[in-house]
């Protein structure tokens, strides 16, 4: 049952990554690798959060690190810059719900200004959601970029000798 949960989490994350990625027009050859990276990354984050009790920011960092490292290997294969593979793969992990809850709480706070108790509750919820969304987005991007800093030579010559242009 647990294995099924993990697999279905990875599967749906892969579909989400391919779909949200397709808005930004990636090359067709990149799709299978985007799907693999997204599935592995999202399933890793799911495991870390559900079974090992990690918080969402640390789990996102580790998942992004896995995705970033994977995109170094796959990028050379399909002659795509790392960002072409890892940005779509990270998209299902972008904390969209937290991000717009931040703005919602702001709107609600403005409506509740006359009653200080309710108003401060919304203000608190705004800071809470804002802090979570900012740290998760930061951890996602930083984690995926870390392999670039470690393997600079390799990471910057992904498209060298590409046979696709």
């Amino acid at each position: 049952m647990i294995a099924l949960d993990i697999i279905s989490d990875g599967l749906f994350a892969a579909i989400a990554a391919m779909g949200f990625g397709s808005i930004s027009d990636p090359p067709m050859r990149a799709f299978p690798y985007i799907a693999i990276l997204a599935a592995v990354g999202h399933a890793a984050r799911y495991c870390l959060m559900t079974f090992l009790g990690f918080d969402i920011a640390t789990a996102s960092l580790i998942a992004a690190l896995i995705i970033g490292t994977g995109s170094v290997w796959f990028g050379k294969r399909v002659s795509c810059p790392m960002t072409v593979l890892y940005i779509p793969a990270l998209l299902p992990m972008v904390p969209g719900t937290y991000a717009y809850k931040t703005v919602f709480s702001l709107i609600m706070f403005l409506q509740e200004i006359p009653s200080p108790t309710q108003g401060s509750e919304y203000l608190q919820s705004m800071i809470f959601n804002g802090a979570v969304s900012f740290s998760v987005i930061f951890m996602l991007a930083a984690g995926a970029t870390l392999p670039v800093f470690l393997l600079r030579e390799r990471a910057n010559s992904m498209t060298r000798g590409s046979r696709f242009i």
Binding site: P27, I87, V94, M158
Partner: protein, 253 residues
């Protein structure tokens, strides 16, 4: 090298630069690739970038050409990112002359984009599986799928008519969430989840991640510009969605 040649080289690098920045490639890659093409053609390239304009200096010995260029707003394209990066390496490795690089560049940027109907289907599927990841059941997924399809279709049409993109985001968020609010009337268990995920296809994930990448690379100004830009779009999504919530619920949230 003569002054005309320097100007011609600068003309091309200016086009290359504005296409890459306009298509949402992170700054350090654009700078690195432009410098690489410059090296291949025997000139020094220095670039200063901001959100809507860039400054470019091309220098060869005592001759130089400096200009400020506008960055047009292209739709984000990872295909251009991959192809134009490969072009910069090809120019460098094969010592291509300027005419040949330009011809290849024109060929690469005139490739057709992905079929919009295919994108529409993919995005709807993606948002439906996103609904599943947040714990929605099959019916909620179906509602999200339909709502996303209608919302994204609206977005594609409004974008094609060159409507201001803030207005596009408010209207598409409103339309998608209004369609998803039928889940409440139908009495689906996870109706709240369907309603909340129906607008997530609009979240500008690429500029958000690009902004952080730019900041970690030290291009802090343009990184913050990108984040602020993305934040404005998120505010628009929230406005569109709160309009729906005011209609279908007595109070927000």
């Amino acid at each position: 090298m003569t002054q005309e040649q320097v100007v011609e080289t600068a003309d091309f690098i200016a086009r290359y630069l504005s296409h890459m920045l306009g298509a949402g490639v992170h700054t350090s890659r654009v700078v690195r690739n432009s410098k690489r093409i410059g090296t291949a053609l025997g000139v020094d390239v220095s670039i200063h970038t901001s959100q809507k304009t860039a400054t470019l200096t091309v220098k060869s010995g005592q001759l130089m050409n400096t200009r400020v260029l506008d960055i047009p707003a292209f739709p984000i394209s990872f295909e251009w990112n991959a192809d134009l990066s490969a072009l910069s390496w090809a120019a460098y490795d094969r010592k291509m002359p300027l005419k040949e690089i330009e011809a290849k560049f024109d060929e690469l940027i005139s490739k057709p984009r992905m079929n919009p109907v295919f994108v529409l289907l993919m995005v709807s599927l993606a948002n439906a599986s996103f609904c599943r990841l947040f714990g929605g059941d099959v019916w909620a997924m179906l509602v999200t799928f339909t709502a996303t399809m209608i919302g994204f279709f609206t977005r594609q049409h409004l974008t094609r008519r060159k409507v201001n993109h803030y207005i596009v985001f408010i209207i598409s968020a409103f339309v998608a969430s209004l369609c998803a609010s039928t889940a409440l009337t139908l009495g689906i268990d996870s109706a709240e989840i369907a309603l909340a995920t129906s607008v997530l296809y609009l979240v500008p994930g690429v500029p958000l991640i690009n902004g952080i990448i730019d900041i970690t690379d030290g291009h802090i100004q343009i990184g913050i510009s990108r984040l602020v830009n993305a934040l404005m779009l998120i505010v628009c999504i929230a406005i569109g969605m709160s309009a729906t919530l005011m209609l279908v619920k007595d109070s927000l949230l």
